[in-house]
Amino acid sequence: MPVRFQKGIALIFLVFSISLALLAYAFQVSNLNNLRVEQDVQTLKTLSEAKAALLAWAVNNVNQPGLMPYPDRNGDGNYDGKSDCYTGSLTGNYDKLLGQLPWLAADDANCSTLVSGIGREFKDSSGNHLWYAVSRNLVYDYSTSAYPVINPDKISNPTYAWLQVLDKQGVVISSRVAAVIIAPGPPLNDQDRSGGIADATNYLDTFNLQSGGGARSNRTYSMPDEDFYMGEDSQGVRSDNTVYQQPYYFNDKLVYITIDELMEELEKRAAGEARKALQNYYLKLKATTGTGYFPYASALGMTEYYQKPNQYYGFLPVETPTQPAQTCAVNYSSATSSTATCSFANITNVEFTRTTAFVSTTGGQCVLTNSNKTCRCAVTSGSSRCNANVSATRRFTCTATGCSTTGSVAGNYVFNGTFSFITSPTSIKPNSFTGICTGCSTNTATCSRPSPAVYPASGGFSYQYTSSPGAFNASVTNSVLPSWFTFNKWQDYLFYTVSSNCTYGLQCDTPDIKVGTKSSVKALIISTSKAITIPPYTIKNSAQVQPSCSINDYLDSTENTNNNAVFDATNTPRNSSYNDQMFIVAP
């Protein structure tokens, strides 16, 4: 018995020791697994934060919202956290758009402007800086000193194809990728990152499928629509795996920013700038005239963006006309007539200037019809007669109310102007708003050869909007938009509507626009985003086409297009067939 008892002690000790050791081992293995999962979670979290920071940086870029920084390459001998801009043409040099995510200011090699950095140094759980590739559509072109145009049309019609992100099988996840951010993970196989100047090969990975199809690589960037892969971590791939060619090394983790994501934020930024300018306009006019009001809209489909009196919906009137807006010069010695194509369709004035005297008089009056306009000076006597007999400049202006002249120079004088409208507007009177789009085509001014044909003159159309309502996008009304706004033609993607009693001369005391359940709205902006060209269609039975005279080509719901003052709520969710975003300007 004592012998068994003593052996039992030994066994207990032994079992206890082994159990403890096994427990410790299991604990450590468990910890290792937990640590691995935790590291992955941390890396994904870092990637997510880096994506948010990069988006924020791009959306708030002072010079060009949407612009992305060049990567930090080892081109300047190190990874110093700053952008390395490339001054040559990017054609054939797309590798200049792959590097580490710059986290310090983007003002290093060759970058001409000082801008703030992304604001934080991002590293994956292995301590590596994140990598980054950006589409050519979103970087400054130093070879031509030009910013890229960035607006919703670029979603579907980019200058260069967008990047692509594919899954481990090579299936496209997104083909509209603006930028990818990659966590390289620990070095694999023969990757050597010592010295601080290792290239992409030593950070990013590549793999092949056993079924062939070539290398799937995150290391290269050789064409505008370069592919990047969300591959499978090799820690989870056994050596007898039959999907991948062995040995299999891959531990890149990737997030990406689509142009759609970026544009949704940019639309908010652009709409916000427009809203701020409109609010300032209102406040400025209230301070100076005692009555706060908003500008008229510019009609849809116009190529100019002038306020049109009594136009309550359309585009933002970001332009102020100058007179003459278009002229057509006439050389009577060599031609019988000359033409000029005007880029606008609404016409309030037809103006000609004679620069040489001795023109015989035929008399007449200003005749305005839809198809043919003839302006003649009717006054043949008196101090304001059109007969001029001296060398002087005399200007004729033909408006809806008749023909007039400026200057008081007497003399023999004639002016015949024949204005042929290829497609006439339904109205040329400044106060004859009908609610119908009037300008979707260009007009041609033809300056006919007068008799005798020796007196040169110049003239053309103009759309003269009187200054009394106040120019929008002008310092006089404290409503200047940033230069990038019109450079990117954001006015084409922001529908603007104003309450009918909140315009020039009115008190804006009973605003009539309703947005969702919110009534008494004075003015509203709707971001139209890109044209919807893929079914299902909600309003049109076909793809939207822009520019257009039809509101159905811009807005996407019955409520927004039924030509009344009621619109969808600001929180209406977007989907593939509805991409309107509502922004209340006031109140």
């Binding site: 050791a21 410790a24 924020a56 703030s116 934080r120 701020k276």
Partner: protein
């Protein structure tokens, strides 16, 4: 004699463990327990760090959410005392601070106003604590708009209306307004080392240290920082780098902060275990644009 031999023999047979055997077993047990203890200790430390980092992130998100809802950041809470004081703390000077003018009492050496933000769990004074039970600190840049007695980051719609009258005395930014103005101005600095010669000295920028938000030392690019003074809060805070971040052992009160990986007392900047998160102007602008508070 033979009986004695038998007894002796039995004694040998019934012998327990030798001292060597016992020692080996005890060493094995000791090593195993030691390994377990070390592992558990590392786990606890890791958990504390992870918990504090999560808390800092939650606070950062709460502050951004507050800004989205109110168009302004809250003022930091005042130094711990009695009662519920973990609320935003306005200046008591003249003019007195309000949410309209954003004049705070402690811009750089204050604490997270957990009660104002509605964060939990908070202690009985309304402060939110790190894993080592110390109140977490928060600093927001004191950005005045020229001649106006207003702090743009903490006043309602302060960013939106920044320099709208062109009153800023900063020549390079005076022509800008709104968020472009704020983005142009120098804000808080977060540096990778203390720029000062002695611990706790006042600094104006990162000096020869690297700014973690911008590459030049002439412009700081951080709107607010949130940080924990770490495990060594009670005894640390006196090294050059930690002393740059106001703590219970440093009264430093300037817009320059330090953040880097933990270091021991033998490091050039001294012992450092502060944990810090910060927000760039871009991030807060993006959130305010989303919330229709900007531009």
């Amino acid at each position: 004699m033979s009986m004695r031999r038998n007894l002796t023999s039995k004694r040998i047979i019934f012998r327990g463990f030798t001292l060597v055997e016992m020692a080996i077993v005890l060493v094995i047990i000791g090593l195993t327990i030691g390994t377990l203890t070390a592992t558990i200790s590392a786990q606890v430390e890791h958990r504390d760090l992870s918990e504090t980092r999560n808390t800092l992130e939650n606070i950062k998100e709460s502050l951004l959410g507050y800004a989205m809802a109110n168009g302004r950041l809250p003022c930091p809470a005042q130094t711990p005392g009695t009662g519920i004081i973990g609320v935003e703390y306005f200046s008591g000077g003249s003019p007195a601070g309000t949410s309209a003018n954003g004049l705070c009492g402690q811009f750089y050496d204050g604490f997270v106003p957990a009660a104002t933000l509605g964060l939990s769990p908070a202690n009985t004074s309304g402060y939110i604590l790190d894993a080592w039970n110390n109140p977490i600190r928060y600093a927001v840049f004191d950005l005045s708009d020229g001649t106006v007695s207003k702090d743009l980051l903490t006043a309602t719609d302060g960013i939106k209306n920044a320099n709208i009258n062109g009153t800023s005395t900063d020549a390079s930014c005076s022509t800008k307004s709104g968020m472009e103005f704020v983005g142009c101005m120098s804000l808080l600095y977060v540096c990778d080392a203390s720029p000062t010669a002695a611990a706790g000295d006042v600094a104006a920028d990162c000096g020869t240290a690297t700014s973690l938000s911008r590459s030049t030392s002439s412009r700081g690019g951080v709107v607010f920082v949130v940080y924990s003074t770490g495990k060594n809060a009670a005894t640390g805070g006196t090294g050059k780098d930690e002393a740059a971040n106001p703590n219970s052992n440093s009264t430093n009160n300037d817009p320059v902060f330090v953040s880097h990986d933990p270091s021991g007392s033998g490091a050039a900047g001294g012992e450092f275990d502060d944990l810090m998160v910060w927000v760039s102007p871009n991030t807060i602008f993006a959130r305010l644009v989303q919330a229709n508070k900007l531009p």
